[in-house]
Each structure stands twice: as structure tokens, then as C-alpha cells.
């Protein structure tokens, strides 16, 4: 029987994954693996995956067959920064959730982006803290009921991709999990055309257990709904305020190819100490 293209990048002995049935994390994994496949990457020996705490942080650890560091809650980006600086030859990819990367690790995210650190960060925005039973996260929609917002979320969600686009990051995109092909192509771009500096891809993928099922929908129904709800940013910009609230703006927010932190650091050192 034919084998799924993703399996060669996975530790087969630990499958199936520990995610809930229908969890969109697995779809991101497909997109990631298809991007690897289309880039002709045979194995992930030269890749290091770094993640923090949360469901999406389990994608690399232990499932992806590569070196992986499953770190403390919120600290994936600093660890990844250390790995990349210590061995710039490695491709370092951070995979994490919105709670991990934008809340407890928010400062690190901002500063790695400000430095244009040579990392690819994939943030799965599932709108809640899925691993700890769906409490409100910085990305939880206004008014949503969760265990920590029993009367409705009084806070408004943060637009992480726009925030990161406002830093020195090279590449910023947001895709919905229902936009498989553009998501996959975006990952490909972030590994090939834009292979240096800070690259940030936000993946909008509501938690199937604590968001989707709470809405009374199945993962498949929600996926089809998202296909309509998620629109290109160009279209979104021309919408009225009420219309905007009902949609998710997706697309490439920023795509530059400036030298990343490591190149810049080395340039200054070489200038000061003289090239060897």
C-alpha cells in the first residue's frame, strides 16, 4: 500500500499522534511535510525543532523525526535563538501555540522579531489554552465563554501577525488551516525564497475540542465554515467594520529579504576585527 508523504518525516513508533480526533494540528503537519517534500528535503537531520508547552508544541516532540527541544512554557524562541546562534548551519523551526508564543512568551516573540533572528516561527492560533481545558488566551474572541471567562471574554483578541509585521521581521503571513495550498506554499517560501531573518506564520486553527465542539460543530463542518470566513487581506481591508469582525484576514503581511541577525552580527564583527 502506498505510504502517506508525511510518514517519512515522522517517528512512526509513536503514531498515532496524541491530538484529539480532528485536531487541526495534524493538517498543519501535512502542509509542513508537503512543503519539505516539494523542496526535495529527504530527511530532517539538519533541522532543529523547538517548541514550548501546549498541544501544538507536541507536534515536533515527539512526533517529527528530527532533533527537537521541547522547552519550558513560553521559552521556545530563546532556546531556538541559542541553537541558531551556536550553529547557524542548522534550520531552526519553532512551532507553538498562541498562549505559548504570544502570551507567556510574548516578549521573546517580539524581541526575536525585532532582532530579525534567523528563525521560522509557526504559531498555531487555536484561540484558547487547549491543553489545560480551554481557558481564555490572548487570541480568544471578544465575548467568548471559557472556564476563565464564564460571563464572556471582556478582552479583545490580539492580532499577532499584524504586531509582528510591525517589527523588523522579514516575512509575516497568516493562513487559515482551511487554506491548505497557500499555507503549504507559504511554508515553502519561508524556507526557500525567504530563508533568512525572522519568518512568522500564524495559522488560524480553532481548537476542535474547546472551540469547535463548544459551538456544537464537527471539525469537518468548521473547516468548511472557515473556508468562507477566512479571506485574503486585500479583500478584508475594503470591508466595513462589522464585516471585518466576521472574517479573518489572511495572506502575506510582509515579505522582505533583509539580512538577518546573524549576517548583520558577523558583518559588524568582521568590520571591527578585520576579516580573517
Amino acid at each position: 500500500m502506498a505510504e502517506h508523504f508525511g510518514l517519512k518525516y515522522l517517528r512512526k513508533e509513536v503514531l498515532p499522534t496524541a491530538f484529539c480526533p480532528g485536531c487541526y494540528n495534524g493538517i498543519l503537519m501535512n502542509a509542513l511535510f508537503q512543503a519539505f517534500m516539494e523542496l526535495g528535503i529527504e530527511d530532517l537531520k539538519r533541522f532543529v525543532f523547538v517548541s514550548g508547552i501546549g498541544c501544538s508544541s507536541w507536534i515536533p516532540s515527539p512526533f517529527i523525526k528530527a532533533d527537537s527541544l521541547h522547552t519550558l512554557h513560553g521559552r521556545a524562541i530563546p532556546v531556538a535563538t541559542g541553537v541558531k546562534l551556536a550553529n547557524p548551519e542548522l534550520n531552526v523551526i519553532v512551532i507553538g501555540g498562541d498562549g505559548d508564543l504570544a502570551s507567556i512568551g510574548g516578549n521573546h516573540l517580539l524581541h526575536a522579531a525585532r532582532r530579525n533572528m534567523d528563525l521560522l516561527v509557526i504559531m498555531i492560533n487555536n484561540q484558547v489554552y487547549g491543553m489545560t481545558r480551554g481557558q481564555a488566551a490572548p487570541t480568544t474572541p471578544h465575548g467568548m465563554i471559557t472556564p476563565t471567562t464564564p460571563y464572556g471574554n471582556p478582552e479583545r483578541p490580539m492580532d499577532v501577525a499584524s504586531i509582528i509585521a510591525g517589527t523588523n521581521a522579514n516575512y509575516v503571513a497568516r493562513w487559515c488551516i482551511s487554506q491548505y495550498i497557500p499555507l503549504k506554499n507559504s511554508i515553502k517560501d519561508a524556507l526557500s525564497r525567504y530563508s533568512r531573518g525572522f519568518r512568522f506564520i500564524e495559522v488560524y486553527a480553532p481548537c476542535v475540542t474547546y472551540v469547535v465542539r463548544r459551538e456544537g460543530k464537527t471539525p469537518g463542518e468548521k473547516l468548511k465554515e472557515l473556508m468562507k470566513k477566512c479571506i485574503r487581506i486585500e479583500t478584508w481591508k475594503n470591508m466595513s467594520r462589522e464585516e471585518r469582525e466576521k472574517h479573518v484576514a489572511t495572506g502575506v503581511f510582509k515579505a522582505e529579504d533583509k539580512p538577518g541577525f546573524i549576517e548583520t552580527y558577523n558583518k559588524y564583527i568582521a568590520q571591527a576585527l578585520g576579516e580573517k
Partner: protein, 367 residues
């Protein structure tokens, strides 16, 4: 090549670390440790190393963890408040067996306290600052020369036992300048890489730390702060896995205590009056012992793991035991474990960065 320099303890640490092979530094400015960072920023690129100023201490400790796994000897330096922020990261390093050196140049706390004033209040935090059962190594120098020599030792211990080493130094030593002979390292411990089928997180003999794979070399290593088996796979439910892991992490340090634990005796080795001390307070203690005679100074270099048997042996014939500390009494608890508390005389001084003077020690010795 031997070089005679006039350096502060903070500066001596930088040269010692570089001579020990340290090639990665991440840190966040904090008094009174900042000079370490300044000099590292300047010197590391000259030897092909990497320096980065982190956005906070949480980032700093985690960056050096990443760099250590990527194969570089790594360190950071901080002081009280920053050391508190680093605790979680240090715990992760203990759990994942990541060699690191963390310098804590102690200032007066708690909280912001007195940023420029020397103190010895972080002893207990260095040992026990993290949650869960965890064991690391704590070393304290007493002069800038020792800051140089012992930081090399700290790197060697970190690499040999795959453990974070806390280098506990008082501000007096950090900012005090003295002659430092940059003599280079006698021996450097080289990190052991795994051969085929050798697990990176387990060994049959708990005294032998497992080998450490380097990222990017095809080991497909799984590093996690969760309870894991010898191959790094998470097992957050199993009693056996957790028990095996945390006891091994303890045993690899405590069962090697003969190799790790170091102390030194000054003054009259047979005297019944004994001063027990660490760090900067040792020098006035040795001075006092020399002035009045008939006194032995027991100076702890390794503060953790502490060899209580050795301590008991050294104190076995003691009459009066004096414990001078620049805190409200922390080392005294160790002494009290092996010697009756009622016979221990303490000298505690906190605040304002005033050292304990020999005259004060003599007064207690002769009282």
C-alpha cells in the same frame, strides 16, 4: 602562555571562561555582574564565540541552553533578581542534563535590595531555588584569581556531569581588583558524544552521566523538560520512569561527591577553634586565625553537593565553631547538621556592603 593581569573578579571570570572553552554568552545587564557581560561582548567575537544581549534573564538562560545543545560551552552571569528569574530555566537544564555555567554575583536582597552592595544571601537559592527534586553544583571562589581558576573547574564539572553549575560570587570579589595570573587550563573536559545505541538520557551506572548528542548530527535527539525515558520520550504518567530519572539525576552528582566536593583548611589544622566559611568572608577569617593562632579555618569551595561526612570529620574535635556570613545565617544550617547548634557562634552582617573584619571574628573567637 602565562599572563599576569590586574583584574576584577568579574573580568577574571571572562578570561577564565574563554580559556575553559566557553564560546557562547547570553545575558541581561544587572549590577553588580554587568562587567562580565561587557567584557564578554568584546572578547568572545575575538575567539570566534557568540555574544547576545537577551531581552531578559528568562531569555538569557534559555538561549544558553539552546547553544549548549548545539554544541557550544555556554554561560550567563547575573545577580539576585536576575538569578531568581533564571530558576525555571536552571531547573530545565537539570532535567535535560544540559551543561551550563551560571554566575551569580551576589548583592543584598531580597527584591531589588541594594544593587551595589555585597552579600551572601543566595546560598540557599542556588541550591534549592527551583521546584521539584533537583541537584546541581554550586562553587564559590574567594579571590579574583580563584574566580579565574574555579570558573574553568566549573566548566569542567558542567561538561563531565552534564549539569548546570552555579558560580556563587560576592560583589566584593566581582568588583575587587587584584593580580590574576592567566595560566590557562590544565585540563579541559571534552563532552562525550554517544556511540550507536547509547541512550542520551540514561546509563546503567548512575554515577556515569550519559553521553550528550549534538544537534544536527543525525541523532534525532528528543530533549524535553517533561519526565522522559532514556531515549527522551515523554512519560508523564509512569511512576517507574519518573523515579528512575530523578534518582539518577541526584545520584550522578551525589555518588560522585568525592570527585566534586572540594574544601580547604587554613591556619592550625589541629586547633579546636574552627571557623567555617565560604566566599569573601574566608579571607578575614584566615587573617584572624593567623593573628590569634590556635584556630583552624575550614573553607568550603564546593557549596553543593556538600559532603556532610567530611564536614563532620573536620569538626569532630571542635570546641568552638564560628560561622561568619554576609547574611542572616544560611551556611550555619549545614554546620548545625553535624555539630551542636548551641556550640556554634555566628557572625552575621547584612546591608551596606560592609565586610566582616578580622577584629570582629577575633572578638568572637576569644569571647
Amino acid at each position: 602562555m602565562t599572563e599576569r593581569l590586574f583584574l576584577s573578579g568579574n573580568e577574571a571570570i571572562v578570561y577564565g571562561a574563554i580559556d575553559a572553552g566557553c564560546r557562547f554568552y547570553a545575558g541581561y545587564p544587572i549590577t553588580p555582574s554587568s562587567e562580565i557581560m561587557h567584557l564578554m561582548a568584546k572578547e568572545l567575537p575575538r575567539v570566534g564565540g557568540v555574544f547576545i544581549q537577551a531581552e531578559d534573564e528568562l531569555a538569557a538562560i534559555n538561549m544558553i541552553i539552546g547553544a549548549s545543545w548545539a554544541g557550544l560551552k555556554s554561560m550567563t552571569a547575573t545577580s539576585g533578581p536576575g538569578f531568581s528569574l533564571m530558576q525555571e530555566g536552571i531547573g530545565y537544564a537539570v532535567m535535560t542534563e544540559t551543561p551550563l555555567v551560571i554566575v551569580d554575583v551576589m548583592r543584598a536582597g531580597p527584591a531589588t535590595g541594594q544593587a551595589t552592595k555585597s552579600a551572601q544571601g543566595d546560598l540557599m537559592q542556588a541550591r534549592w531555588g527551583r521546584h521539584g527534586d533537583q541537584y546541581l553544583v554550586v562553587i564559590a571562589p574567594m579571590t579574583p584569581q580563584e574566580a579565574y581558576d574555579l570558573i574553568i573547574e566549573a566548566f569542567n564539572i558542567a561538561e563531565a556531569y552534564r549539569v548546570p553549575v552555579v558560580f556563587l560570587m560576592d560583589e566584593f570579589i566581582g568588583h575587587g581588583r587584584e593580580i590574576v595570573v592567566r595560566r590557562g587550563a590544565d585540563k579541559l573536559v571534552v563532552r562525550r558524544k554517544p556511540s550507536d545505541h547509547e541512550p542520551p538520557f540514561g546509563s546503567k551506572d548512575p554515577r556515569i552521566p550519559p553521553p550528550m548528542p549534538r544537534l544536527g548530527e543525525g541523532h534525532y535527539v528528543l530533549v524535553t523538560g517533561s519526565t522522559h525515558n532514556e531515549w527522551g520520550y515523554r512519560d508523564v504518567h509512569g511512576f517507574e520512569t519518573h523515579y528512575k530519572l530523578v534518582t539518577r539525576l541526584k545520584e550522578k552528582i551525589w555518588d560522585n561527591i568525592d570527585k566534586i566536593f572540594k574544601y580547604k583548611v587554613y591556619g592550625d589544622p589541629d586547633a579546636r577553634r574552627i571557623i567555617v566559611c565560604f566566599g569573601s568572608t574566608c579571607r578575614p577569617a584566615i587573617d584572624a586565625a593567623e593573628r590569634v593562632g590556635g584556630t583552624k579555618v575550614l573553607r568550603l569551595i564546593t557549596l553543593w553537593p556538600l559532603n556532610y561526612d567530611k564536614l563532620a570529620e573536620e569538626l569532630s574535635g571542635a570546641g568552638k565553631v564560628v560561622v561568619p556570613e554576609l547574611n542572616l545565617g544560611q551556611l550555619v544550617y549545614d554546620v548545625a547538621q553535624v555539630y551542636p547548634r548551641s556550640k556554634i557562634r555566628v557572625i552575621n552582617k547584612v546591608g551596606g556592603g560592609i565586610p566582616i573584619y578580622p577584629s570582629e571574628i577575633i572578638k568572637v573567637l576569644e569571647a
